[in-house]
Amino acid sequence: MIVPIDLLLLLFLLIVGIAALWVKDLLAAIVLTGAYSFIMANVWLQLGATDVAFTEAAVGAGASTALMMACLSRVPRWEKK
């Protein structure tokens, strides 16, 4: 566990999470959620939990993003003001 990399990853996590809440475009929100999952996988890797990192990368960044994309094709893309 390297502390500067850890802090940098947590900073990225914070930025991506706030951006995913803030953005009005749902496609961008889904992509940001996938990026959040990927950074979270790196955090798990930093913490030494390779198993959980594997699951997070496969489920969170891969399958879940694809399923949300498939859902997005059935709802309007832009969030209402």
Partner: protein, 161 residues
């Protein structure tokens, strides 16, 4: 349902890359499922297998995806995974590997004499349970994605008529 040929712009790079990567992703999923010593496992490997199919369906559309993964094969995998998972438990019970030592079944079926209890147990935990979980997870994810893609096409047809 009549097959509607959707006119979409084909991208040669994406199709060739998908065709190239599809078996490799499946192989990597199998490696994660049964190959690694410590990390990985059934759920992770199954999700990677499912993501290979999801990639294929996303690129080629659900009709060619159905050719790759028909409904019958999907249902077969879904129940075969449960069958393997359940069967590992039943083999443990019947051969007194982990749960029911008091039954003393090896006196009647001396399988563990030439396999060894540790070998049989590692086979059951490392391969049979993992493959069972992986197959069920893969089939469940793929059928979920098929359902979403299919309904979208139905609504589009209904909207056009």
């Amino acid at each position: 349902m009549t097959p509607v040929r959707k006119t979409y712009k084909r991208n040669v790079i994406i199709e060739v890359t998908t065709n190239l990567m599809f078996p490799l992703i499946l192989l990597f999923g199998l490696y994660v499922m049964i190959g690694t010593g410590g990390t990985g496992g059934g759920f992770q490997g199954g999700t990677i297998l499912a993501s290979a199919y999801i990639l294929y369906i996303t690129v080629f559309g659900h009709e060619k995806g159905r050719e790759k993964m028909p409904e019958s094969v999907n249902a077969l995998f879904k129940s075969l995974g449960l069958f393997l998972y359940n069967g590992a438990g039943w083999i443990c019970v019947l051969f007194s590997l982990a749960t029911a030592q008091w039954l003393n079944m090896p006196a009647f079926w001396p399988v563990t004499d030439f396999v060894g209890v540790a070998g049989a147990r590692s086979f059951l935990v490392g391969y049979m349970v993992s493959v069972g979980i992986g197959l069920t997870v893969m089939a469940a994810f793929v059928s979920q994605y098929f359902d979403l893609a299919w309904k979208e096409d139905d609504e589009m047809e209904g909207g056009e008529e």
